[in-house]
C-alpha cells in the first residue's frame, strides 16, 4: 500500500454516524413492515408510514435492507468493500425516496379529473406538504456518503 485513504482519519466518527443512521433506518423499515402487515394507519405529525403492499411492504423491506447494509459496512469504512456496502445502503434509500418524490411531482402537475389542464397553484403546493414517508427523512442523512466517497479518494 502506498497511500492511505482520507477516511482513515476520524474513523470513529463515521462509525458512530452510520451506527445511528443504520439503526434509525432499520427501525423505520421494521415499523413499516409491521404497519403494513397489521394494516393499521400510522401517521404522527409530519411522519406518515405507508401501509399499502407496494410502498409499505416492498418499500419497507428495502428500507430494512438499507439499514442492514449500513450496519454491516460501518466498521473500517476506509476499506473499499465496507464503504461499498454503506454506499449501497444509501442507494436503496435514494431509490425509495427518489421514486416517492417523482410520484409527488407527477401528481402535482395535472389538474385532476374535474379540474383544468393543470393544477391550481394551491393544489400544486399542497401535494408537497407533509406528512412524508420515512425515506424522505432519511434522504438528507444518506447523502453523507457522497462526502465519504470524496474523502476516500482524497489520499493523505
Amino acid at each position: 500500500m502506498t497511500k492511505r485513504s482520507g477516511l482513515e482519519k476520524n474513523n470513529d466518527l463515521y462509525f458512530i454516524y452510520f451506527l445511528i443512521l443504520g439503526l434509525a433506518t432499520l427501525a423505520f423499515g421494521i415499523t413499516d413492515l409491521i404497519v403494513t402487515i397489521t394494516g393499521s394507519e400510522y401517521s404522527i405529525g409530519v411522519l406518515n408510514i405507508p401501509n399499502d403492499g407496494f410502498r409499505g411492504g416492498w418499500g419497507g423491506l428495502i428500507i430494512l435492507f438499507a439499514g442492514i447494509f449500513y450496519l454491516s459496512g460501518l466498521k473500517d469504512l476506509y476499506e473499499i468493500h465496507q464503504l461499498a456496502k454503506v454506499v449501497m445502503g444509501s442507494i436503496l434509500i435514494w431509490i425509495i425516496a427518489g421514486t416517492d418524490i417523482f410520484a409527488m411531482i407527477t401528481e402535482s402537475i395535472p389538474g385532476g379529473e374535474d379540474g383544468g389542464w393543470f393544477n391550481t397553484a394551491q393544489g400544486f403546493l399542497g401535494t408537497y406538504a407533509p406528512p412524508y414517508a420515512p425515506a424522505i427523512f432519511l434522504l438528507p442523512f444518506s447523502l453523507v456518503v457522497i462526502f465519504c466517497i470524496h474523502k476516500y479518494y482524497k489520499k493523505i
Binding site: 423491506l61 473499499i80 461499498a84 436503496l92 431509490i95 425509495i96 421514486t99 417523482f102 407527477t106 395535472p110
Partner: protein, 588 residues
C-alpha cells in the same frame, strides 16, 4: 472490398459499426446484444465499402446460433478484410480469435478497443510491438469517444494476409507451431509476455459495488430495490401522461369532436366502424363518453396505442436502456442463474425475458444467445405465452390497476411451473456456461436516446396500423354478427370452463392482432373483478400476437408447432385453474 467487424461479445463492434456507417444498431453493455449480422456502407477514398456488423463470437467453433451466424459470415466472405475488435483489458482472450481468423488467410486489422478501460486498470500494452510481432496493423481505440477509429480505417490498406509460422518466429522462444488450441494459447502467452505489463491495480468503489451486486446475499436485496424503482417510475410516468392529460384530450376533446363532425351518426354502420358503436341504454342506442367504449378505429384505435401505450412503452424502454448501458443486466442474469437452472435455462435467459416485457418480437430474436435447440424452444414458448408485453402492461395499469400485481404473479408462476415441466419432458441438454460480467459504466445520453427512439418508433410503426386495423376487423365481425355467433358456440367453454362472459370472444379475436387492444375492449364488457382477472390472463396466455407469431415462425421453424401444442395445453389448464381457484374462494 468488404469489411467484417468481428470480435468477442460486448467489445464494442456495434459502436464501431454505428460510427463508421450512418446506421443505427442497438449497442448495450452485455454480451449477445447483436444476434444477426447487419450490413452498412462506409465511404472510403471516394468508394462505398460494404461493412458488416457480425454477432460476437469467442472462437470459430460456434456454441450458439448467434455465433453460428458469425462463423458462417466469415466463411461466406473469403477475400474480405476483417476488423478484429479486441478488448484491450483482456488482450489474450481476444488474440485467440484474431489468430484463428489470421490462420484462415484473412487480412486483419486489430482494434485494441476499450483502451480507456485498460488505462484505468493500469494495464500497459505495447501496440507497436504487437503490430511488429503480428505483422498486421494494430491501433488503440476508444469506441465511445471515437478516438483511434479514423486511424484504424486509414490502416485498412496495410492489412495483408500473414502466416502464423512467421508470427511464431517473431515471437521468439516459442519452439512449436500453433495448430492446436493448446499451442495457440502458448503462442498467445508468449506474445502477451512481450507486450503487456500489468501495473498495480486497486479495487475501485465501482468494482466493489459490482461484486456485491452479483453476490446473492447483497445482490438480491439490491435487485429488489432496482425492480421496485423500475415499477414505481413506470407507474408514475405513465399515469402522469395517460390519466393526467391524454385521457382528457381523447375523451373530452377528440371523441366529442369526431362525434360532432363525422358524417353518419349513431346507428350508421360506417360511423360505428370509425367513430362510435354506441351502447344500449334502456333499449335506446346512446353515444359513448370515453374512448375505451367507443370502439371506433379513429377513437379507440388511436387512443389505445397513443393515449395509453405510448407513454408506458417510452418509459419502459428508457429505463431498460439505462439498465442495459450501466451494465446491470448481466448481474441480474448471474443472480437469477440458479433459479433458471431449475427450469433448464440459464441466467442469460433473463435478457429475452426482460426484453419481452417491452415487446415479444425482439425477445424471440434474442433467444439466439441460448446454446441448444431445447433451450431456444423453451424460451420462445415460455415468453410468448407467459410474458405480457409493455403495451399490454401499460393498458392493464389503466384498466385493472388493483389486480395487475396478481395477474403478473399468476403469469410468472406459470412461467416457472411450465418451464419446469417442459424441461422434464423435452429431450436435449442444458450446458453450463460461464457468464461474463462487464464492469459498470456511465451510460451515454447519445446511445440511450438513440435506443429509446429506435424502439419506440418501431413500436409506433407496427402498433398504430395494427390497432386501427384490429378495431376495424372486430367491429366488422360484431356488425356481421360473427362475434355473437362465436360467443354462443363457445359459451360452454367460456362460461363453464374459464368462467368468463361469452362476450370475451370479441377481445380474444382482437388479441390475435394486438393484446393491448384486447384488454381495452375487455374493459367495456360487464363482469366481476375476478372474471376480469381471468379474462386478462386468458388474453395473455392465449395466442401470441400476430407479429410475435411471425417472428416465432421465422426463428423456430417447425418447432413452432410444438410451441402451439404447449400453448393449447397451457390455455386450458392454466386458464381453467384460475376459474377453479375463484370457485374455491367462493367468488365465481
Amino acid at each position: 472490398m468488404k469489411i467484417l467487424l468481428m470480435g468477442h461479445p460486448n467489445v464494442g463492434k456495434s459502436v464501431f459499426f454505428n460510427r463508421l456507417t450512418a446506421a443505427n444498431i442497438i449497442e448495450s453493455n452485455y454480451p449477445g446484444t447483436t444476434v444477426d449480422y447487419t450490413k452498412g456502407y462506409m465511404r472510403l477514398e471516394g468508394k462505398d465499402i460494404e461493412i458488416i456488423d457480425v454477432p460476437g463470437t469467442f472462437s470459430l467453433e460456434p456454441k450458439d446460433k448467434a455465433e453460428e451466424v458469425a462463423v458462417r459470415m466469415l466463411h461466406e466472405s473469403k477475400g474480405s478484410k476483417v476488423m478484429c475488435v479486441i478488448d484491450a483489458s483482456k488482450v489474450e482472450r481476444g488474440l485467440y480469435l484474431a489468430l484463428e481468423i489470421i490462420e484462415q488467410g484473412f487480412s486483419v486489422v486489430i482494434a485494441l478497443n476499450m483502451w480507456d478501460v485498460a488505462i484505468d486498470k493500469n494495464i500497459d500494452i505495447d501496440a507497436k510491438k504487437l503490430e511488429q510481432i503480428l505483422g498486421i496493423p494494430v491501433v488503440p481505440t476508444v469506441g465511445i469517444s471515437g478516438e483511434g477509429i479514423f486511424a484504424l480505417v486509414s490502416r485498412l490498406k496495410d492489412a495483408t494476409p500473414v502466416k502464423v509460422e512467421d508470427i511464431v518466429e517473431r515471437t521468439e522462444g516459442i519452439k512449436h507451431k500453433a495448430n492446436t488450441p493448446d499451442e495457440r494459447w502458448a503462442l498467445i502467452e508468449g506474445i502477451s509476455k512481450k507486450i503487456v505489463t500489468f501495473g498495480e491495480y486497486q479495487h475501485t468503489l465501482k468494482d466493489a459495488i459490482g461484486d456485491f451486486t452479483v453476490k446473492p446475499a447483497t445482490g438480491i436485496p439490491f435487485a429488489i430495490a432496482v425492480l421496485y424503482g423500475f415499477w414505481s417510475i413506470f407507474g408514475s410516468f405513465a399515469g402522469f401522461f395517460t390519466d393526467g392529460f391524454l385521457v382528457k384530450i381523447f375523451d373530452e376533446h377528440w371523441l366529442p369532436w369526431l362525434q360532432a363532425v363525422f358524417p353518419g351518426g349513431l346507428g350508421n354502420w360506417f360511423y360505428a366502424l370509425i367513430v362510435d358503436v354506441g351502447h344500449l341504454e334502456n333499449g335506446v342506442l346512446a353515444a359513448s363518453d370515453n374512448c375505451f367504449e367507443s370502439f371506433g378505429a379513429l377513437s379507440s384505435g388511436l387512443f389505445v396505442p397513443v393515449g395509453v401505450v405510448l407513454p408506458a412503452i417510452f418509459i419502459f424502454y428508457l429505463m431498460l436502456a439505462l439498465l442495459e448501458d450501466i451494465g446491470y443486466m448481466p448481474r441480474l442474469a448471474v443472480l437469477i442463474d440458479t433459479v433458471l437452472h431449475k427450469i433448464g435455462l440459464h441466467g442469460y435467459a433473463i435478457v429475452p425475458s426482460v426484453l419481452a416485457l417491452g415487446c415479444n418480437v425482439p425477445a424471440v430474436g434474442a433467444t439466439r444467445i441460448l446454446e441448444t435447440k431445447k433451450q431456444r424452444f423453451m424460451m420462445m414458448t415460455l415468453l410468448a405465452v407467459f410474458i405480457p408485453c409493455g403495451a399490454q402492461i401499460g393498458i392493464m395499469q389503466d384498466v385493472i390497476p388493483g389486480s395487475i400485481g396478481f395477474v403478473m404473479l399468476y403469469l410468472m408462476a406459470g412461467y416457472f411451473i411450465f418451464g419446469y415441466i417442459l424441461n422434464k419432458v423435452i429431450p436435449g441438454r442444458i450446458p453450463e456456461i460461464l457468464m461474463d460480467v462487464p464492469p459498470y459504466q456511465k451510460p451515454m445520453s447519445r446511445n440511450i436516446s438513440r435506443k429509446v427512439w429506435m424502439r419506440t418508433s418501431g413500436f409506433l410503426k407496427v402498433a398504430v396500423p395494427l390497432v386501427i386495423f384490429g378495431s376495424l376487423l372486430v367491429n366488422v365481425l360484431y356488425l356481421a354478427g360473427t362475434i355473437d355467433w362465436l360467443g354462443n358456440i363457445l359459451a360452454p367453454m367460456f362460461e363453464g370452463w374459464f368462467g368468463v362472459p361469452r362476450e370475451t370472444a370479441g377481445p380474444l379475436v382482437a388479441a390475435f392482432l394486438r393484446k393491448d387492444l384486447a384488454v381495452a375492449q375487455l374493459s367495456a364488457i360487464e363482469m366481476t373483478k375476478y372474471q376480469m382477472i381471468s379474462a386478462v390472463v386468458l388474453v395473455s396466455i392465449y395466442f401470441p400476437c400476430i407479429a410475435t407469431f411471425a417472428m416465432m415462425l421465422r426463428e423456430g421453424g417447425k418447432t413452432f408447432l410444438g410451441s402451439l401444442a404447449v400453448l393449447l395445453v397451457v390455455v386450458f389448464t392454466w386458464g381453467g385453474l384460475l376459474h377453479l381457484l375463484w370457485k374455491l374462494m367462493g367468488v365465481a
